[in-house]
Symmetry: C2
Subunit: 313 residues, 2 copies
């Protein structure tokens, strides 16, 4: 099974309004709620592909109960650990007029040292049964800066390959623990390396020099750029698909994790990752993928061999 870790699991709430007008009152016609957080979305995509997956991380409070109830409804195996604080909500206000989304993110519940110790023990048990471990998203307050580094070391000790999808301090602090694959987007890449967003290649190399074994940068409609011990590639979607880009990164991570679990060659994995990202963009809700789009595009993705010298093998 593929184990996804969402330390800052959230209840994703969507409000539909006619149009967002700041400083006025709005009637919310429709409210959707579902379990979210990047790792949860990765597990949703893996489950849609028929892969065995387990969700872990931290939840708490009445919002955590709603989140777990939704995981059960979705048939996702829930190995979340309960903490005293209350899980956060993320609110997306969607304007019916233009389809545009305005997002409000809460920081998440503070996690006590005792709770973190309990989670590490819980994670160690789960990782022992995993083919791949996926670490996704932001870190709630109260956890040590190198939280992902410690979980990466545990997975490494268990011989389980890892995919890390986070940004900022959490990403930088995790690199010395040598994640197998890191998947930053363009903004995370620029922020973590201090490199201009235009120089993707230099930024990717900086992350590898700092410890990432392979880096797969997701560049929106421009596709992926991957630097790995086996070579370097650009993978570009065959057509432009409009829609909601929120879940594209999670779908990409799901494809990378599945490819890593199967030990497939990078070119195949990257084609899958681009096709699955596009299949997420055409769905209105993060965590959903359109499997028809996925199957149609996976053989049509353009792959460019960058013949980059591998100096970080």
């Amino acid at each position: 099974m593929i184990l996804t870790v969402t330390l800052n699991a959230a209840l994703d709430v969507t409000y539909l309004v006619d149009r967002l007008r700041p400083h006025t009152s709005h009637r919310v016609d429709t409210t959707h709620r579902r379990a979210g957080g990047k790792g949860v979305n990765v597990s949703r995509v893996l489950a849609a592909l028929g892969r065995e997956t387990v969700v872990t991380g931290l939840v708490g409070g009445p919002t955590g109960d709603l989140l777990r109830a939704d995981l059960a409804t979705a048939g996702l195996r829930d190995e979340l650990l309960t903490v005293a604080g209350e899980s956060r909500r993320t609110l997306t206000v969607v304007s019916r007029e233009d389809g545009d989304a305005t997002v409000f993110n809460q920081p998440g519940p503070p996690v006590a040292p005792r709770e973190w110790a309990a989670f590490r023990a819980h994670f160690t048990r789960l990782a022992g049964h995993a083919e791949v471990v996926v670490l996704s998203g932001s870190v709630p307050p109260g956890l040590p800066a190198d939280v992902y580094g410690r979980l990466l070391s545990t997975a490494r000790a268990a011989g389980v390959p890892t995919v890390l999808d986070t940004g900022g301090t959490a990403l930088r602090a995790a690199l010395p623990a040598r994640p197998d694959v890191v998947k930053p987007n363009a903004a995370e890449l620029a922020a973590a390396t201090g490199t201009p967003a235009t120089d993707t290649a230099a930024a990717v190399d900086t992350l590898r020099a700092a410890g990432a074994r392979s880096v797969v940068a997701s560049l929106g409609p421009a596709g992926l750029r991957a630097h790995t011990p086996d070579g370097a590639w650009r993978a570009v979607p065959p057509e432009h698909l409009g829609g909601n880009p929120t879940g594209a990164g999670d779908a990409c991570v799901a494809a990378l994790a599945a490819g890593l679990a199967d030990g497939r060659p990078w070119p195949d994995v990257l084609r899958d990752a681009v096709a699955l990202s596009a299949a997420a963009v055409v769905c209105p809700v993060a965590g959903d993928v359109d499997t028809t789009t996925y199957r149609r595009l996976r053989t049509a993705v353009r792959l460019e061999d960058l013949h980059a010298p591998d100096t970080h093998r």
Copy 2:
């Protein structure tokens, strides 16, 4: 005791953000939650004045549980009836930059006929012990159009005076049941009567002709206009106070209900109502009043006798 009825009780959630920018992501630094809905706020103000008050209405689901927990924390006597649906939230996004508020209102849970019948029996029991009944706010889906009319008739049969604070269809349908006091704001007055917002006197008389015994229109910084069987007055705050007008109407209703319970003369009651509204405006959260401001202003409110002929006694 003064019984307040909030059929559409809500959990009021406030998000503080630096600045609301549509179509972007926001980090929510601070989240406040508390029991809300207009009747709940009226009870809060009454409790702050040392009056005995009981909260009733309908709640349900996990959001209803949070709402009740907050009532308990506030020391408000909770006689809410549980329904199967989940209570709504109202979300207010406050920009730290300019203090402005953007509000999102959910419609509330549907109420089944069986639940409505149970509430009427519950209300009849409670109204028998009340000095005054206050009916406040919007009506959740599934209830009959004349829902407030039926509750007003029950209160009348028990010999208990009533204050009604609602708008639109719910207001119009309630008037034939002859509420003792109706407190519309300028927008509700114009909407309920089809009269231009500039002609307050004509609109107030229209509501009285339709059944309201007394009408106290709240006109924001311009104060109150009251037409009653005992005379007609304008009551104007002695100074302009800036702040959050959200809870001013509820504070006004609290003063009207307390005055009605004590059988005090209208000029005194109106002075109190203006002062208490102003004492709500200076507080950032609806349901709070600044008792120092209230005591300072209650003797300084300007009262103008309109000598209006009373044709609806």
